[in-house]
């Protein structure tokens, strides 16, 4: 199963739009990292957070309509509109477009805002509006409502391999001819509760993400959304295509099979220790690996950003490295820009405790 990438949109600490990713990949834009103060039992501590800025939303959604939209919904919507704009595809039949959103945590801020109304005002004061906006599917529904795309509208909410499963589902929809296009959104937000929990899990003891350092947590919470407009493989690809998407048990020992035929792998390691250990155990042979989470931060949908970055690297004909600090010697980490030719493929790999997700990207 495969799909053509027709448009890319993103919202992250790097800014908004596909150019923010292009520029970050080339090293001309750095992420905006805010230091947030967290109260813990041992006093206040600071935690660096990759905070997304939703810029340019007014171009797509009027201010009145924006009022009821929380940040993660705005990020998802903006990324979706930017991907559509980037694609220049003229969609004639909106029933033939599916909306597919993946998120690890869903609308966290609204979930806690809703709980605030109960705690502050009592059970009779639970906010119906916040409740309705707190369901995980609110993001996909908003995309569907604002774009008027009324094909299937689905939300996948895995904490592990969410991007892999969303992209696999999108390819299946296209393959089964359920739709002609899929507007994929992958989004997560940060919030004080998540940042507190991240701190308890060891985040923030380092000021930067060292994604392949396996002896310490260097996870830094992040928020953002990336959207891809996907079409059938027969569509003229604007960037590249998803040639294969699969989830595999790590125990199957097919790591070198994954690496074979790929010029380099982008690993979605993000400083989280449990998954870091899984990356550390991979036997990828001599294939070069790159990690770009220091650009977009640590969040469940990180692989979605890697897919976009891989497509942009293929567009430019060059994969740039990203400084990642310590890494196991067994991994051949990219340290200088790698030229890419038309036939090259890049792999994007995310790991969970027992499974891996793999996306192969190249030209048809």
């Amino acid at each position: 199963m495969s799909a053509s990438i027709l448009g890319i949109g993103s919202v992250s600490a790097l800014g908004s739009g596909v150019d923010s990713l292009r520029e970050a990949l080339h090293g001309s834009v750095r992420p905006r990292i805010e230091r947030t103060s967290i109260s813990t039992s041992s006093g206040k501590v600071e935690l660096p957070v990759y905070r997304a800025h939703v810029e340019g939303f007014d171009r797509f959604v009027n201010r009145r309509a924006q009022r009821r939209l929380d940040k993660v919904t705005r990020m998802t919507l903006l990324a979706a509109f930017l991907a559509l704009e980037d694609s220049s595809v003229d969609i004639a039949d909106k029933r033939r477009v599916g909306v597919l959103v993946g998120t690890g945590f869903g609308p966290l801020t609204t979930t806690f805002d809703y709980l605030d109304t109960i705690i502050d005002g009592g059970d009779n004061s639970a906010s119906p509006t916040l409740f309705a906006s707190s369901v995980h599917s609110a993001l996909a529904s908003a995309v569907s409502i604002f774009t008027k795309f009324n094909g299937p509208c689905l939300t996948i909410t895995n904490l592990e391999l969410v991007s892999t499963e969303v992209l696999s589902t999108a390819c299946a929809w296209l393959d089964r001819q359920i739709v002609d296009y899929v507007l994929v959104g992958l989004a997560d937000e940060s919030c004080p509760v998540l940042e507190y929990a991240a701190r308890l899990r060891g985040a923030g003891r380092s000021d930067r993400i060292e994604p392949l350092r396996l002896d310490a947590c260097s996870y830094l919470p992040a928020e953002g959304a990336v959207a891809l407009l996907l079409g059938r493989p027969t569509e003229q690809e604007k960037y590249a295509s998803l040639l294969d998407v699969q989830s595999i048990p790590l125990s199957s020992g097919i790591d070198s099979d994954l690496a074979r035929n790929h010029r380099a792998l982008l690993l979605a390691a993000n400083g989280e220790q449990k998954t870091g250990r899984s990356f550390g155990q991979l036997d990828l042979g001599s294939v070069k690996v790159a990690v770009h989470s220091p650009l977009y931060g640590s969040l469940p949908v990180g692989l979605g950003f890697d897919v976009a970055l891989a497509a942009l690297a293929l567009e430019r004909g060059e994969l740039s490295p990203c400084a990642i600090g310590t890494a196991p010697k067994r991994l051949d980490v990219l340290t200088e820009a790698m030229p890419l030719c038309n036939d090259d493929r890049l792999g994007c790999l995310e790991c969970a405790a027992s499974r891996a997700g793999f996306v192969s990207i190249g030209r048809m």
Binding site: L115, A126, F131, K148
Partner: protein
């Protein structure tokens, strides 16, 4: 493109009507409505809004050993899954010999809304990580895959009230596209005071047991439970020499793209979903033996759904509303209703609908008022959801 037929070889269910499929069906055929004030949580409200609570024991029901503290949603999912696996003649140790995927719908089960934890956080009492660890370990599909050691795809779907239907629909696609040999699919959700208060404040909950399609209906009762089906290609089932209960003959989903909580007044998404699911199943409306409607007993849902059914199907097509016995189990509903629809097809027995008294002239749907023997091969199950999602499954009985 020729696609493999998708067979259902096992079903499992737990809800207020019972702790297994036979118990649930016996209770439904007997017309028992177990709605009562919630006992699993406390609320401070002036009025009582009944719920359909699971009363069968959860602790000892599962055969698997867990190395984490399960949520009630996880327990419900496990119990229904084990029943479905037994029905499909799949032992835990044999699951590793197949590519088994798991696709579960939920709403409560994926939400980080632990009120105790959050109150402590707000009050700067610095809660520990137990609650977070518990949340992370209990993502329904993920934890089921971990517990059972599954090697196939793992997806948790949060599509509000159509989650379970969409989970079965996506799992059907997995089998058709050979993503896995066997799929465990359906939905699970526990009762929680958080959505309970939300539905009450949205003025969608009733203080009476639900009255689907009734002129005087005034809302839903929440419920909890799980409904699980085991899917595999018909060819795979024949090779394993397991009986096929039914086929998932069709599935389709369309959005209204209209409003965050209200269905499109003309039901455009539901109409399209029904039409596309019937095309997928290669059946005509006249071939449908009965419809298990979404039928939440809210004014808007039943008006829109009822009109679409009236306009799409012949007037004598029976319409069943099983939420009148299970309550609205949210993310579990589609899975649970899939199981009830399949089992009614297998039993060739039409369920009666509880709560209906007076025809609503606006919609002119009179749901089943008595249970009866039927002779039909095909049934459909509808799910409508917040955000305007509409999903439909078509089931076809396997004649013995």
């Amino acid at each position: 493109m020729s696609l493999p037929e998708v067979a259902v070889t096992g079903v499992g269910a737990i809800c207020a009507a019972g702790g297994s499929v036979p118990q649930v069906m016996d209770s439904l055929y007997a017309g028992e409505v177990n709605a009562a004030a919630p006992t699993g949580f406390h609320v401070e409200l002036d009025s009582v809004f009944p719920v359909f609570e699971v009363t069968s024991p959860l602790d000892a029901a599962s055969q698997v050993t867990l190395d984490f503290e399960p949520t009630r949603t996880t327990q419900l999912a496990l119990i229904a899954t084990e029943e479905a696996l037994r029905g499909a003649r799949l032992r835990h140790e044999t699951l590793q010999h197949h590519r088994v995927g798991v696709c579960l719908g939920t709403t409560v089960g994926c939400t980080l809304n632990d009120e105790t934890f959050y109150r402590e956080f707000r009050d700067q009492r610095f809660p520990g990580m137990n609650s977070i660890h518990r949340y992370l370990a209990n993502n329904p599909a993920q934890c089921l895959a971990d517990v059972l050691g599954l090697s196939g795809p793992v997806v948790t779907i949060a599509n509000a009230c159509s989650s379970g239907t969409d989970a079965v629909g996506l799992a059907k696609t997995w089998i058709e596209t050979d993503r896995c040999d066997i799929a465990i699919a359906g939905g699970a959700d526990e009762l929680s005071r958080i959505p309970y208060l939300g539905f009450i404040r949205l003025l969608l909950a009733s203080q009476q047991p639900p009255r689907p399609f009734d002129k005087n209906r005034d809302g839903l009762n929440l419920g909890e439970g799980a409904g699980i089906v085991v899917l595999e290609s018909a060819e795979h089932a024949r090779r394993r020499e397991v009986p096929e209960l039914a086929h998932i003959a069709g599935y389709a989903s369309f959005a209204d793209a209209y409003h965050p909580t209200a269905p499109h007044p003309d039901g455009i998404g539901l109409k399209r979903a029904i039409q596309a699911a019937l095309v997928d199943a290669r059946v005509a409306p006249k071939d449908v033996g009965f419809i298990n409607a979404h039928a939440t007993a809210t004014m808007d849902n039943d008006r829109v759904e009822g009109r679409v059914l009236r306009d799409t199907f012949p007037p004598d097509t029976p319409v069943v509303a099983t939420k009148s016995y299970t309550g609205h189990t949210l993310g579990a509903a589609g899975g649970l209703e899939a199981v009830l629809t399949i089992q009614a097809l297998v039993d060739q027995r039409l369920l009666k609908t509880a709560g209906f008294r007076e025809l609503d002239p606006e919609i002119e749907i009179r749901p089943t008022e008595a249970d009866a023997a039927i002779d039909c091969d095909t049934a459909i199950s509808n799910s409508l959801a917040f955000g305007g999602n509409n999903s439909v499954l078509v089931f076809r009985r396997r004649r013995r």
